[in-house]
Structures are given as C-alpha cells and as structure tokens.
C-alpha cells in the first residue's frame, strides 16, 4: 500500500502538482495497480537476462550530419514556443 506521503514524493519526482485530496485518490488507485502487478513475482525468470526490446538490434549508428530545415519548418518550431523573445524560447532563470 502506497501512503499519501509516498504519493506526494512520486508526484514531486514527476513534477506534477497534486492536492491533498488527489494524493489520497492516487494512493488507492496506484496501490490497486501495484497489487495487480505483484503477480510478476510468480514468474520464474532464473537464468533470463532482461531485454529492453524485441529485435535484438543494438548500437545503430548514422553519419553525424547536419540536415538543414526549411525556413518554414524553422518558423513552425518557433511558433510553438509558449514564451518567446524575438526568435528565442524564453525560459525562467534556472537558479
């Protein structure tokens, strides 16, 4: 069972603001789902290496080459900035 405090800690890691009421709801819902996935402990995985995906492909490389975007595409990216100054994405001070 996940406590409300644990839920708040997770929300903090996930950068989501939650209310006290929400943390109570999440505590129940997430505990239900975690209860369900407990089932995995019954799986005998001795001798199995974890795999991240199915094709077995690894270290796929390509030439590190700059491909020029069209001016229109560049403007489309800039248009999507929530806050901008001239053609820059405006961000709050980090420190």
């Amino acid at each position: 069972m996940l406590s409300k405090d644990q839920v708040k800690k997770i929300a903090n890691l996930a950068r989501i603001e939650i209310t006290d009421q929400e943390s109570e709801k999440y505590s129940k819902e997430l505990s239900d789902i975690l209860g369900f996935v407990e089932k995995l402990n019954e799986a005998d995985t001795d001798g199995f290496e974890p795999i991240a995906h199915i094709t077995g492909a690894k270290n796929i490389t390509r030439e590190d080459k700059v491909l020029e975007y069209s001016d229109e595409a560049k403007e489309n990216i800039i248009k999507n900035f929530p806050e901008k100054k001239d053609r820059f994405d405006k961000v709050k001070a980090v420190f």
């Binding site: 950068r15 369900f36 094709t55 796929i60």
Partner: protein
C-alpha cells in the same frame, strides 16, 4: 475496397475530387453523432485529390492508394496541421514536419481527410480519455468504439474514411477494430517507422492500418513499412507487396489454440462461442489445429503495466510548458505573481495533462525510482525475455496463434471509467503481441445481438516475427470464405 475504388479512378468512372467530396459529405452527416474526427483538412485534401485526377487524365500511372481518402490518428504529425494526441497540453500545437508514415503516404498520393480522436496520448481502451470528445461506436452509439485508436476504427466502420492509420502499444489498433467490426493490423515491432508518432511506450509502439478488408490492410502495410534512419528500431526487411501474396491455400497451416485464452472467467461466453466456431472453420479450410499452452503469457498484462508506464514517465517528461504545447505562462493569472521555473513545470503538468496520463506517469515514476527499479522494471524486462522465449518455442510447433481480440463486445460509454484496473483488462488478449513484438491482426468473425443491435466480435491471429505474409493470408482466406 481500395482496389475497387482504384479501378474506378483509373477507368475514370469517378474522380478523386468527387470521391473525397462524398466522404466529407458523409462526415458532415454522421460525425456530429459519431465524433470520430478531431480536425478536418478539406482544402488540403481536395487539392491533393485534384492533383491525382490530373495525373490520371494525363495517363500517368498511379499507386493503389492514390486519390483514396483516408484518416490519420491524431498522434501522427502532418506538417502544418494540428496534432493533439487527444491532449489539452498539445491544443493549438502545429506539427513542423511529416511523420515517416505520412511522407510515405504522400508519395503514394493518399488523400488525408483529417485527424481522428483517441484516448489522450493513446492511453485507454474506449476514447473516453480523450480531452476533447468521446467517439461513439457506429454499430450502437451508446457504446464505445474501443481505443485508443477509436476515432480511426469508427471512421472506417461509419464509412467516414476508406481506411485509417492507428497506433498500437497494447492493443490500440486491434481492440477498436474488433469492437467496430473492421480489420486492424499491428505489424511486427521494427516493421514500420514511428518517427513523427507522439511516443507513448517506445519499446512497444507500432503503427498500422485499420481497414474494411484484409486486402486493404495488406495494401497499406506494403506502403508504410521499411527501414528508416529516423527510427533506429526499424529493421531491414524485404520490400514486398503483401497484397500480391493473398489467396494461397492454407491446407496444413498449423494454427495454435492456447488453452489459457479460454480458461479465464473474463471471457464473454458469446465471444467464446464465436471464437470456437472460427477454430472449426479454420479446420474445415484445411488448417491443422494444434492445442498449445502459453503459461507465461498470463504475465503479459502485469509486465505491460510496468514497462508501459515506465516508458510513459520518461517520454512525457517533455511536456513541461517550456518548448512547446500549453503552458501556465510566466505569471499567475490570479495573483499576477511571477512563477518560478519549478512552478511552470508543476502547474503546467497538473493543469493540462489528464487523469489517466498522470496516473501512468506516477506509476512509471514509482517503478523507476531508487529502491524499486529492480523489483519492478528490471523484473518486467526479464519476464519480457521469458515471454519472448515462450513464443520462440511455440512458433517451432505452429505458424499462427488464434484467440479472441477482446474479452467482450463493445461496452457502454461510462461503464468502465470509474475503475482503471477493469479498463486495463480490456487489453488482456492483445498486450501479449506487443510484449513479444509479434505481428497480430483482428478481423470480424461474427456478431452478438444485444439490445436489438448487432455488436461485432473480432478474431485475433498472431504470427511469427516479420512474417506478415502468412498472417495476412490466413486472415484473408477466412474472410473470403464468409
């Protein structure tokens, strides 16, 4: 259906412009009730249609998909058009490039009617998690179309598109295809590029067609598959026109029936009966029915609910109000106080992400957090290896695995929204194919009469890795004999 329309186009019995207008007229008539589309693309579509008509007039050879009106799930980018992934956080966002599947279809001169509704970020099995609207099942409009590609499936079923693209992470193409009585194909992981698809769980996501026939699914697959330098998981595969390999005799085809699929009490007995009839039909078509057991497939759904949210928590970290999408802005609207960077992250994500999305981000964050990683994520990755091994062994004995797509026909709007875990069980038969990475198709095998409506039921076949040819043919032979 596609080939038929193509013949009419090249014989100049119809024009693509006329055909496209007919589809828009049908959308105008039906979509206020069905609500399959989130945005339409009239001008752009008719321009393309006229360009195809011009090519036909001048005697140019055109592709099978040329001039045929289709729909695209709203989590795939078409340059210059909105793409929302069914989320408020991407409301008013415009795509700045084409997804690889879209640029391939543009080469084929396909006509894009619009973008279809979906559960937010493809998280759901009913479209009820869309931040904008709930699509209705064309067979009974008090019921859901399934999800997450519910808009795409409903658009095909209501003839508001000839065919549509969907994406499938745990069943999101096949389950709505089953509930809407159409064909849905999830190709092998690594077959189709996801570049330009808004990622949900990258080790499971795959794009595929939703169509009204198996042949149509084959036609679309042939045009979207292939290695792409923008998606490193795509594999080099033989270029093939899958539609040219349909109709081969299936005598001796080994069809495996996993006993576990029929043991659970979640399976509606009326669905079970239709699936059992379908097994008999395969037998009468010459297939060899083999009883098999997939004991570890039982872990697939639990594995899925660790791997998927973990990848979700990472993929959706980009929706932070900084570079794109909705943001709470620099200041509090209420007090006028300046927000800090931290405030922008927390408040943007709280305000613009939906309930289910937040639930999965939180679940994934927990599964990946210090102290729990080994217990959840690492364990799930080992079980994935175990399931893969089980499929490898099984495919030494059989060519195809047969089962239901969904445990029930379409359920009512609102029936499962209160209990997330119950909604998750809608994917019980479909997630295994994503965990194992194998191709899988759902196609209609009958209907169940409920409340005076005939609700469709889908049959699911799973094939061997990259052997879409055998899979599509097995589905085609069944379809043709009905």
């Amino acid at each position: 259906m596609i080939r038929n329309l193509h013949e009419k186009l090249i014989k100049q019995e119809i024009t693509s412009e006329k055909l496209t207008e007919e589809y828009f007229a049908r959308i105008d008539e039906k979509d206020p009730e069905i609500q399959a589309y989130l945005s339409l693309n009239k001008e752009f579509a008719l321009d393309k249609a006229r360009a195809v008509d011009k090519k036909i007039k001048s005697g140019e050879e055109i592709d099978l998909l040329a001039g045929i009106p289709c729909a695209v799930k709203d989590n795939m980018c078409i340059e210059g058009l909105p793409v929302t992934a069914g989320s408020k956080v991407l409301e008013n966002y415009t795509a700045s490039y084409d997804a690889t599947v879209v640029s391939k279809l543009k080469e084929s001169d396909a006509v894009f009617l619009g973008k279809t509704n979906m559960d937010e970020f493809a998280m759901g099995s009913s479209t009820e998690n869309s931040a904008f609207q709930t699509t209705k099942n064309p067979h009974d409009t008090v019921r859901v179309p399934g999800g997450s590609s519910g808009g795409s499936a409903a658009s095909v079923a209501a003839e508001e598109s000839v065919w549509a693209l969907g994406s499938d992470t745990g069943g999101s193409i096949r389950q709505p295809a089953s509930l809407c009585g159409v064909v849905g194909l999830k190709p092998t992981y690594g077959m189709v590029s996801r570049h330009g698809l808004i990622a949900m769980a990258s080790s499971l996501d795959q794009i595929g067609p939703i169509t009204s026939s198996v042949e149509d699914a084959a036609i679309v697959l042939s045009r979207i598959a292939g290695k792409d330098r923008f998606d490193s998981t795509t594999m080099e595969t033989a270029e093939k026109k899958y539609e040219d390999f349909l109709g081969a005799n299936i005598a001796g085809l080994k069809v495996g029936i996993p006993k576990e699929y029929f043991e659970g009490d979640g399976l509606d007995p009326r669905v079970r009966e239709l699936i059992e009839k379908s097994v008999q039909k395969y037998k009468s078509l010459g297939a060899e029915i083999v009883d098999i057991s997939l004991p570890n497939a039982d872990f697939a759904l639990a594995t899925y609910y660790i791997i998927m949210p973990s990848e979700v928590s990472s993929n959706l970290a980009r929706f932070d109000g900084i570079r794109f999408g909705q943001s709470v802005g620099a200041k509090s609207e209420r007090t006028g106080a300046d927000y800090t960077l931290w405030d922008i992250y927390f408040k943007t994500r709280a305000k613009y992400l939906g309930k289910e999305v937040k639930r999965r981000i939180m679940l994934g964050t927990y599964a990946l957090s210090a102290g729990y990683y080994d217990q959840y994520y690492l364990k799930a990755q080992k079980v994935r290896a175990l399931i893969k091994k089980e499929f490898e062994e099984t495919y030494k004995k059989v060519d195809i695995i047969l089962g239901p797509t969904s445990p029930t026909p379409a359920f009512r709007v609102g029936e499962k929204t209160e209990n997330p875990l119950e909604m998750y069980l809608a994917d019980i038969y479909t997630v295994t194919a994503n965990i194992a990475g194998v191709p899988a198709i759902s196609f209609p095998c009958g209907t169940i009469e409920t409340d005076g409506k005939n609700l469709p039921v889908g049959l699911q076949l799973m094939g061997k890795w990259f052997d879409e040819e055998t899979l599509l043919n097995a589905a085609y032979i069944f379809e043709q004999s009905t």
